[in-house]
Symmetry: C2
Subunit: 249 residues, 2 copies
C-alpha cells in the first residue's frame, strides 16, 4: 500500500462471513473506515481498533468526500458498502468525484451482492439469464422503472428487485407486480428474502399474485421467476435446460 489510495469495498450482506478474503485483508490494513452508520456498526465487532467515520443514509456525496479527504491527509482509507461496491453501491460516485482529487487513486473491491446471497438462501433462482432492477425512484423516474419491468418480463428474464418498497413508497412492489402481471401468469413462482446474512434472516416462496400483497422494505430482496422456474423440494430453482434429459452424455 503506497501512494494516496482509497479502497471502495463491498463487504457482502451481513457483517463479515460473506466478505471476501481480499476485502478482509485490505480492511485489516486500513486506518480509517468510512460508511453508512448501519454497516459500520457491523464491522466494528470484527475490526475494533479502526477509526470510523460515518454519515447518515442519504449523504452519499458527503461520505465520498470524507473518504477522499482522509486519504489526502495520508491515511489508508476504505469506504464500505453492503453487498457489492458496484451494484447500487458507492463505486460509481467515487469514480465520478475522483477527478477532484487527482492525487488519490480509487480501487474497487467487489463483494457478494444481495441478488447472489438471496438466491443461495432460496435455492437456485438465477441459474440462467436474469435482470436486476431497483424500484427506488430517488434517482430514476418511475416511468423508466416500469418500462424496464415490462420489457424484462417480456424477455422472460428471472427478475431480482432491489429496494422494493420504503416508508415513502409503500406500494411500489404492488405496482411492479401489476406491470409484470401484464406479461406473466399469476401463479409465477417468486421468492422473498429478508435481512440477508443478518440476525433474523428469513425466506419465503410465493406466487406472483401473493407477492403483490406481500409487505416489503429496504431490507427485502425480491425474486420473480421466469416461465421455467420451478419449486423443487421447497427450493426455488431455474432448471438447467436440457441437462437432465441428456444425462447419458
Amino acid at each position: 500500500m503506497s501512494g494516496k489510495q482509497v479502497w471502495v469495498i463491498g463487504i457482502g450482506p451481513g457483517g463479515g462471513e460473506q466478505m471476501t478474503v481480499q476485502a478482509r485483508q485490505i480492511l485489516k490494513q486500513c486506518d480509517v473506515i468510512v460508511g453508512y452508520t448501519v454497516y459500520v456498526a457491523l464491522l466494528r465487532e470484527t475490526f475494533p481498533d479502526k477509526e470510523y467515520r460515518t454519515t447518515s443514509m442519504c449523504r452519499e456525496i458527503d461520505r465520498c468526500r470524507l473518504a477522499f479527504e482522509e486519504a489526502q491527509s495520508g491515511k489508508r482509507v476504505a469506504i464500505v458498502c453492503s453487498g457489492d461496491a458496484g451494484v447500487y453501491g458507492m463505486s460509481g460516485l467515487m469514480l465520478e468525484l475522483a477527478g477532484e482529487y487527482p492525487d488519490c487513486t480509487v480501487e474497487i473491491v467487489p463483494g457478494v451482492t444481495a441478488a447472489l446471497a438471496g438466491a443461495a438462501v432460496l435455492g437456485a433462482p438465477l441459474m440462467h439469464d436474469f435482470a436486476v432492477i431497483s424500484l427506488s425512484d430517488r434517482m430514476t423516474p418511475w416511468e423508466e422503472i416500469g418500462r424496464r419491468l415490462r420489457l424484462a418480463a417480456a424477455a422472460d428474464f428471472v427478475i431480482c428487485l432491489y429496494n422494493p418498497a420504503s416508508k415513502g413508497r409503500p406500494d411500489y412492489l404492488q405496482r411492479a407486480c401489476d406491470i409484470i402481471l401484464e406479461e406473466a401468469e399469476p401463479e409465477r413462482i417468486c421468492g422473498v428474502v429478508r435481512q440477508i446474512g443478518r440476525d433474523g434472516e428469513s425466506a419465503k416462496m410465493l406466487t406472483l399474485r401473493e407477492l403483490r400483497e406481500e409487505p416489503a422494505d429496504m431490507f427485502t430482496t425480491v425474486f420473480v421467476g421466469n416461465s421455467r422456474t420451478r419449486l423443487i423440494n421447497g427450493r426455488m430453482v431455474m432448471p438447467r435446460g436440457y441437462a437432465i434429459e441428456t444425462a447419458g452424455r
Copy 2:
C-alpha cells in the same frame, strides 16, 4: 457439520483471494472437493491436503452425482464452481438431482460472479439496473438469446455477457453486437475483461462497433453500457442519476 450434507460453493473468480471467508472456512473443514479440473487446480495450492475428484468440462451431471455419492459414504463434501454457485453454476443441477439422494442436504454458498468482479476491474459499469445474458446456445436456442438481447437493449439495461464465444461458435459475440446495434448507437461504451482474478488479467474499453470485431473466448466477460454509460478518467462508469447535480443536499 453433522448429517450428510453437500456444500455447493462459488469460489469467486481466480484461485482464492476473492473467495468469501465463509467459503474458505467450509472448504477447510471438508474431506473431499469435487470440481471441474481447471478450478480444482487453483484450489490445490490453498488446500493441499484434501481429496480431489475432478471431471471434464461438460460432465456436470457426473460431477454432481460424484459429490452426492461421496457424501453418502459419510465424507464432508464440497462441489466448487468458479464465480458464484448460482449464476451459470452448479447449484440448480444439484437441487434438481437432490431428490434422488434424500439423505443428503444441499447448502449453497454464494460467491463473487464474473459480472461483479469484471465490473470492479473496469470501473463501475453496473451501478444501476442491468441484465446478465449467456451467449452459449448449448442449453438455450439462439432465437431466445437474440430476443433477450434485443429486449434488454430496448429497456436500456447495461448488459453483461457471459460465454461470449467459443471455438464452436466463434462469431456469437459479433451476432450479439449486431442485434444490440439495432437499438443502441455504434459509439456505445463497452468493456471487455479477460481472465478475471487470474494471471494475465486484462481489461479494455471500446465502442460497441469495435466490440463487434473483438476476439473473445470462454474466459472473457463483456459489458455493454447503456445510453448513460460514460468514460470517466479511463474507467467505465454508469453515473449515479442526479447525484452530482444535487450535491448540496
